[in-house]
């Protein structure tokens, strides 16, 4: 049971490519691998723990004001993440800029709370939240890998493509500047969806 909760969001029910949740704050951070991974970890932690906390208090929240209770819990966790990032990795926190704050309105978190945590016990909710964070993280890392590798020829800031391959050093290679631009992230997601739906045909839309 718990295993299924964990594996489902990684591929078949991936929050980004299948449920279309949480695209808002995701794509602008994928030009480099490092911020993408930090973002993925932050979202995983916030999703997991907000689901856990909401699930703990799910029977005491009045139904009419549940949205605002959820927002307060999520906002509190995001403030914690933001303060920790500022304290321990200030550079990355600067690169992520407003996108840490935007985790609050990340649809994955609210979506999982509404769809899962409100009707399930705390422990499965924690697993569900973490798994959805991972599913989101996988897509983020794949996109960041492609964009950093082809866009700057580096991975984690380390030069991968040999410098003497470049045109300016008398070689034949040039970085693809298009990869750095924001729209390329969207096109990459489109292509990932294409690949995923070719593999599992039952996801195809009519």
């Amino acid at each position: 049971m718990n295993k299924k909760i964990f594996t489902e969001p990684l591929f078949k029910g991936n929050p980004i490519t299948v449920l279309v949740l949480g695209i808002c704050s995701a794509l602008a951070v994928t030009t480099k691998l490092e911020p993408a991974i930090v973002m993925a970890i932050s979202v995983t932690i916030v999703t997991g723990f907000s689901s856990f906390i909401i699930s703990l208090i799910r029977n005491t929240i009045p139904n009419r004001i549940r949205i605002i209770v959820q927002l307060v819990v999520v906002a509190m966790l995001v403030i914690l993440v933001d303060q920790i990032l500022k304290a321990y990795s200030y550079e990355v926190s600067k690169q992520l800029s407003v996108f840490v704050g935007l985790i609050i309105t990340n649809c994955i978190i609210m979506g999982r709370i509404e769809a899962f945590a409100l009707g399930n016990k705390p422990f499965p909710s924690l697993i569900d939240g973490l798994a959805n964070g991972f599913g989101y993280g996988i897509i983020l890392v794949v996109i960041a890998f492609v964009r950093e590798f082809f866009g700057s020829g580096t991975l984690f800031g380390i030069q991968i493509i040999p410098l003497n391959w470049y045109l300016k050093n008398g070689g034949f290679y040039e970085n693809n500047g298009l990869m750095i631009l924001p729209p390329m992230a969207l096109i990459l997601i489109g292509l990932i969806i294409w690949v995923q739906r070719s593999i599992s045909k039952d996801l195809i839309e009519k």
């Binding site: 490519t17 279309v20 949740l21 949480g22 695209i23 808002c24 704050s25 995701a26 794509l27 602008a28 949205i67 605002i68 927002l71 307060v72 906002a75 509190m76 995001v78 403030i79 933001d82 303060q83 800029s97 407003v98 704050g101 935007l102 609050i104 309105t105 990340n106 649809c107 609210m110 631009l181 924001p182 729209p183 390329m184 992230a185 969207l186 096109i187 997601i189 489109g190 292509l191 969806i193 294409w194 690949v195 995923q196 739906r197 070719s198 045909k201 996801l203 195809i204 839309e205």
Partner: protein
């Protein structure tokens, strides 16, 4: 005056919420199937942005900034509450959306029935919170600048969603490979629109 016009044009075209920062993407993709509903959501976003952003600006300037509370009493002169900004901004956004919903329902039932379902959705639309966070990060100096920025980003969002909805209406008739149908092609179309919008980036203001 010229400065305000600059901010306005910049936030519509060069710093478009959708194409430059991907904000409000979830509802952008979910509600862009027909031009009519897209127009409704677009107007609702402009509306809520123009109301929440100035309110957040005033709260940020007179309550949250380091030393901002000194108008209350000199002993607060080095109190820094800016770490609370996320929670305050989202609370303001959520409560104002609720308020706007009630006011619209009471006074213009016709508008309410066309916007109805979208208004509560807007509370968790990243474009609204994003607007407030950009206002904080870029440090707009006057209320006028903040309001103009809100109006500009709202109009930019509106233009983006209406044009995507128009494209998707036509897209129904084209022969797309089956796995790419629906979501996949929409992402690619948005990407291409983003590349087109990038041509505005060369403009210096």
């Amino acid at each position: 005056m010229q400065e305000l016009v600059n901010i306005f044009v910049k936030s519509i075209f060069m710093e478009n919420m959708i194409f430059a920062y991907f904000l409000g993407m979830c509802s952008f993709l979910a509600v862009s199937k027909s031009v009519k509903t897209a127009t409704g959501l677009g107007i609702a976003v402009i509306f809520v942005l123009v109301i929440t952003l100035p309110v957040n600006y005033l709260i940020y300037k007179y309550v949250l900034l380091p030393g901002a509370l000194s108008w209350l009493s000199p002993q607060f002169a080095d109190l820094d509450l800016s770490f609370l900004s996320f929670i305050i901004f989202i609370a303001v956004v959520a409560s104002i959306t609720q308020l706007v919903e009630m006011v619209v329902e009471k006074f213009t039932p016709a508008l309410y029935s066309s916007l109805g379902i979208f208004l509560p959705l807007i509370a968790v639309n990243c474009a609204i919170l994003g607007g407030s966070l950009f206002m904080q990060e870029r440090g707009y100096e006057t209320l006028g600048q903040a309001t103009t920025f809100a109006l500009g980003s709202g109009v930019g969002w509106f233009l983006a969603i209406v044009s995507l909805a128009a494209i998707r209406e036509k897209l129904k008739y084209s022969n797309i490979p089956a796995p790419l149908r629906g979501l996949g092609i929409t992402f690619i179309v948005v990407g291409l629109m983003g590349i087109a919008f990038m041509s505005f980036m060369g403009i210096k203001l």
